[in-house]
């Protein structure tokens, strides 16, 4: 079992969810987070045009931390590549800020309702 952590744009959560649901991975946990990447969060993603006299001089414009959605998806080992490929396909816009995906090992899982353990507890 693996945990797939994807940090993606908030507006892409719906399309990602639909695409994964079609492949048979309907379950996920989503959290609203803020963060920044290698561009230090000033990539202009959430900028708006401001008259220069309103700006504080010598301060970078843009947001320090950009709002993102943090998705955590638990899958079987054999499904990792499919899910990662789908997430990349759906979220790829070519603009900076598309997000990152991390694959982490998962020791065990327990379904609370039935006390199933291990692989059968992950869908």
């Amino acid at each position: 079992m693996k945990e797939i952590i994807a940090i993606i744009r908030p507006k892409k959560v719906g399309p990602t969810r639909n695409a994964l649901e079609e492949l048979g991975f309907p379950s996920m946990t989503a959290t609203a987070v803020t963060g920044r990447g290698l561009q230090r969060g000033i990539a202009g993603e959430v900028n708006m045009d401001c008259p220069p006299e309103l700006l504080v001089p010598n301060r970078p414009s843009g947001m320090k931390y950009i709002p993102k959605r943090f998705l955590s998806i638990m899958v079987q080992n054999s499904d990792v590549d499919t899910v990662v490929k789908t997430i990349i396909e759906v979220n790829q816009s070519g603009q900076i800020g598309d997000g990152k995906i991390f694959i982490c090992p998962l020791d065990t899982a327990v379904r609370v309702r039935t006390d199933e353990r291990g692989e059968s507890a992950v869908l």
């Binding site: 987070v33 290698l38 993102k68 990349i88 598309d98 990152k100 991390f102 694959i103 982490c104 090992p105």
Partner: protein, 105 residues
């Protein structure tokens, strides 16, 4: 690669983030969380707060940078009182950049 999750005082995270960025660890995610530790929350007067607001900083770094990051966080988040926070390090097997599809950080 390792994932570092540091659960810190909300007011300490800005200083930690600045110090990390100055050392070249720019990428991070902030999550506002509630939790408690060994002291089971805090008692102020007659009121017991079971869960306290904290900020979780989540970042993924290469193996050789883990100690540097932990040192920076420990240095900037330290006050000496209960509730300074905890740092957890867990393994990450792979990382992908969505924009390019490339593996690695």
């Amino acid at each position: 690669m390792k994932m570092i999750r540091a659960i810190l005082r909300p007011e300490a995270t800005e200083g930690v983030a600045e110090a990390l960025a100055a050392s070249g660890f720019v990428s991070m995610t902030q999550i506002h969380v509630f939790g408690r530790g060994k002291q089971k929350g805090i008692t102020v007067g007659s009121i017991r707060y079971e869960e306290l607001p904290k900020t979780m900083i989540l970042m993924v770094v290469e193996d050789q940078s883990v100690d540097d990051v932990i040192d920076i966080i420990k240095d900037r988040a330290f006050t000496g009182n209960f509730g300074d926070g905890k740092i957890f390090v867990s393994p990450v097997e792979a990382a992908y950049t969505v924009r390019t599809g490339a593996t690695g950080l």
